[in-house]
Symmetry: C2
Subunit: 624 residues, 2 copies
């Protein structure tokens, strides 16, 4: 027993919570899976592309498609013969011979019912599927005989299959080294090709946005999302490595982090019936009939006056006055009803308290930094990875309404510390993508932007960004002669995208940190520098994407911060808790906000952030 | 030069983004820091407790507190002499002698101004501070001579200090092995003890909720938050280890995951002026003066009618009619103005489109599972860690409006797989807390619930929960004689907290998974079992906390799901995209939602979820 030989093939890791083998564990092996040949596997996934191989019936015509066996799925129209290497023909012939045998039940049925004119059974065929389970870029070639599953059911792009079969050396021409010869079909999830939006090949990314629930089935979006997930894990790893604690900042808040943000308000007082096309919409607008009545009352009042003025007919006057009175009564009744309605509507809506869930206007957070300070000023170094919201209606490739952000804050640290941390974090992420997502990166750059990988490599070749103060940046940009900027360069105004991208893309060709901005262009909480004009802020601008990280040393001096809040006319009461942190045990601290979604954009070379966010939300768009 | 001796003490790791040493790296060493004696360190933190050691002035009376040197901080009233080990007295004497010397500048000032009657300078003293930087439970003892910093400034609890000094063996009685003898004070963040809410010792947790921005400065909340952060990292590690991808599901959504949830609506149409006590509140309610005018118009119309009826005075009638007309004109003008206002208010508010940010009613997500399915049905195994929202007004120790949840979904998997994964995940988390958060756990159980650690140990001693079907659970509970339940046990109704906690706390005394519930008590998307009455759902109930994980195999059959949506009368159009996943390439899949905040509750033994969430949001409460 102890001399039992080691099996010739390595065991496959089954997925722990499924009976299938994850394709990545087969396809990402250095040997392309060759070492696994002979193993029986259950694999599942979705058909990315397919072909059908049919044996021609030399003399007799046969139905062109479908095999007639329980085929309720769509007819398969576009299948074509696979291209076969001449040298492989004998192997394929033997396969077809085998298929002919396995198709015998249908043949014997023909024999059992000789009296009925039955159309000849369709030719046996092999469905050759390229299957992806989303775990990696590569697809596994899967061969299913038509006797096991009707080709018309399994061939359409997007079909889901779960099959049991043997891993064999690939019998067909192509990149595939191995394939699965299916012995048992465990599940088929069919596709209605007419309606399936991904039936067409290579939809452009902007068209895919209209089916955000399907687009991760495309190879490009799948790769992007795997890279995104890798960046996600690496984010947590970086902060854990550096002794940070993770803190979940609140999403619903009364505190406006920047003082003037465009925010989403949160309430339970809206109800289901307030949008066009939804039941009950516009029910309480009303008032038209009251208006009509009142107009009539005015008209009648005019008639009374006219009758009076002309002193024409006392009978007519009396009638007119009676009429006016009736109209006024009606108006009064209607008005009372309207008022009641309107009051109820106000009650359901706003102003009357304590009806709403929260007693004060509550918004979705635009940044977690202020709340993080509370934890930095007690636990030291903290970060928070979560969604942040801005109700920005301007269409933009870099901003949507809901974006995931890494906010971090460090006690006992200054501007330079936050800048160093930003550099390290950025480099750490770039390195991790190159190391852990190489197959996905290779695919994405082929489709998108060839320069992406080089940009990543260039980042990790240095230890920090180019650093330049706002004032220096302004001087440098003023001297630029090879480009004219649309926005005038003037000290005290924000540098715009064109300026920043010139610095990162044209001038330094690498990430640039611009620091010490005029206080006017940064939020109230950024620490005032000794010059009284600038604040301890920084923006890290990266090529192609623009500002990726915005950070600052925040004002720790109570008096300075308090004066700044008053100076800007911000509603002070919402910041009382924030000022408290300076009243008691204040400390120097700095931090930054890192736009995670833009990092995915930078990494992948895609150009629109809506293509790298699973379900993007922007003005007018929240489809699911 | 090459023969330079190796320093006797180990080098300390400076924090990379600060010039301070993290206290954990000193205090969590096995030798308690003894091996570091002699090292010069910069350390920062907040004073947890303090004492002042004063040398008595034998004959002459001296001012009791303050040193008069730039002391604008609060007076220090409660300081007492430290208890000194008799054996340590000689050492303390030498310290005091040294302090006398270092206080000489003040003494020499006395000599320079002999003509003025100057009160004797305060006695030199040592401020003995227990300082925490939030990195660990233990505090570092810090000794600051009064010549370096006024005791009144550094002694109050909550004071922030950044100091430079030498690590020495502790000179005082107590648990401390080492201490820092300060040579330079770099920063003091004072506290106004009168106003600082944490000046009082040991505030109960429910009182601390009113100062959520300060409470991480208490040892208990700090420990809880470090454990929470540990669970956070471990969550990501578990899913990464098992090949899951992280997917950020949308927060703002039109899809109601459960069909009937109490939700928060999101809008940009509210404005700042809609809550009591906020500027501009109730401005547009108005209408009162128009009402008055209209009442007057009716009154005047009545007068006209009366005059007409009595035929008394034509002059009077004419005047009355003129008056009526004027009043009606005024009413018309006011009304026009009101209408304009009202239209604007409607415009700012609702109904008229496309004014709001999103065209359809949009809510904060109650669960990420439906959106995750889209990614599971393309990428395989996915999870999402994020905030979920329920506008539940009922006060509860287990639920608040905003809770962080781990949703996960696996393609090609069934109910049993999701249950196995839930077991493994739960055990993995319990293990990690015992391994990585032992000091914090020791502290927390001392303060809170001594049984917590044993509960964790009992979990990791088994490989899975007790599993029992809903029907079996009902039978078992019906046989219970030692407890009478308030809610009647009836097949088809949900088991309540008392039933579930009886199962987990009394009967099995370990986590229990109840599965296969009647379809009536679970959401529409849970897969219908073959019996037609139950669905493939499960709840993992853990002792003390209740339901921690809810999961299910979701309905993959289009017809069954579609019928279920109709049967429940759910607004179908919002689920079209979700049905799409069954129309094209459907697959069996299962997953669960894990209440992260309740896991922190289970781990720490605390009883109210508001004490383990950084900034909890509940009905009427969103203070910052």
């Amino acid at each position: 027993m102890e001399s039992e030989t080691v099996p010739a093939v390595l065991p496959l890791n089954l997925h722990k919570y499924s009976n299938r083998v994850i394709l990545k564990t087969i396809l990402d092996r250095d040997d392309g899976g060759l070492g696994l040949i002979g193993q029986r596997v259950v694999i599942g996934g979705w058909v990315k592309s397919s072909k059908e191989f049919k044996k021609e019936r030399p003399a007799v015509a046969a139905p062109a498609d479908g095999d007639g066996v329980g085929d309720t799925g769509p007819k398969d129209k576009d299948v074509t013969c696979v291209e076969i290497l001449q040298s492989r023909i004998p192997f394929i012939r033997s396969l077809i011979k085998a298929l002919g045998r396995s198709h015998s039940p249908a043949a014997s049925r023909d024999k059992l019912e000789p009296a009925v004119v039955v159309p000849k059974p369709p030719l046996p065929s092999i469905s050759i599927l390229q299957v992806s389970d989303g775990s990696c870029v590569a697809t596994l070639q899967v061969l299913i005989e038509s006797s096991l599953a009707p080709p018309s059911k399994v061939l359409p792009t997007g079909t889901c299959i779960l099959v049991d079969g043997e891993l064999t050396q690939s019998s067909l021409q192509g990149k595939q080294v191995i394939e699965v010869k299916v012995e048992k079909v465990l599940h088929i999830g069919t596709v209605d090709s007419e309606k399936y939006p991904l039936s067409k090949k290579r939809l452009p990314l902007n068209m895919l946005r209209d089916c955000s629930h399907f687009r991760p089935r495309t190879t490009t979006v799948a790769s992007v999302m795997r890279i995104r997930s890798g960046l996600d894990f690496t984010t947590h790893r970086f902060f854990e490595n550096h002794g940070f604690l993770s803190v979940e900042v609140p999403i619903m808040t009364i505190t406006d982090c920047e003082g003037f943000s465009e925010k989403f308000q949160v309430s339970t007082l809206f109800n289901k019936a307030d949008k066009k096309g939804e039941p009950g919409a516009a029910e309480n607008v009303g008032g038209v009939s009251l208006d009509v009545i009142k107009a009539a009352a005015r008209e009648k009042s005019n008639i009374v006056e006219e009758l009076k003025r002309t002193e024409s007919n006392r009978e007519a006057l009396a009638a007119a006055i009676r009429d006016l009175q009736k109209t006024n009564e009606l108006a009064a009744q209607l008005e009372a009803r309207e008022n009641l309605k309107s009051k109820n509507s106000i009650k359901d809506d706003k102003s009357k308290l304590p009806e709403d869930f929260f007693p004060r206007s509550t918004y979705l957070t635009v940044s977690g930094r202020l709340h993080l300070e509370s934890y930095a000023c007690s636990l030291g170094n903290v970060y928070s990875f979560g969604p942040r919201f801005r109700a920005n209606r301007a269409e933009s490739q870099r901003n949507v309404a809901e974006m995931w952000t890494v906010d971090m804050e460090m006690a006992f640290s200054e501007l330079k510390d936050a800048m160093s941390c930003a550099d390290d974090f950025f480099i750490f992420l770039c390195k991790s993508v190159l190391e852990n997502c190489s197959e996905d990166m290779k695919f994405v750059i082929k489709r998108m932007d060839n320069a992406s990988i080089n940009r990543l490599k260039s980042v990790i070749s240095t230890s920090s960004s180019e650093r330049i103060s706002y004032t220096e940046a302004l001087d440098v940009l003023k001297k630029v002669t090879d480009k004219s900027f649309e926005t005038k360069l003037e000290w005290g105004t924000a540098l715009t995208t064109e300026h920043l991208s010139y610095l990162a893309d044209e001038m330094y060709k690498r990430p640039v940190i611009v620091y010490n901005h005029p206080k006017e262009v940064k939020p109230f909480y950024v620490r005032l520098n000794d010059d009284g004009r600038t604040v301890a802020s920084f923006d890290m601008v990266v090529p192609k994407v623009g500002t990726l990280i915005s950070g600052s040393q925040n004002e720790e001096r109570f008096n300075v911060l308090s004066a700044r809040i008053k100076e800007l006319g911000l509603a002070g009461e919402q910041y009382e808790w924030y000022l408290d942190l300076r009243r008691h045990g204040t400390v120097k601290h700095s931090g930054f906000s890192f736009s995670f979604d833009l990092m995915v954009l930078f990494t992948t070379g895609l150009t629109d952030v809506r293509d790298v966010i699973p379900f993007p939300r922007s003005y007018g768009k929240a489809a699911n």
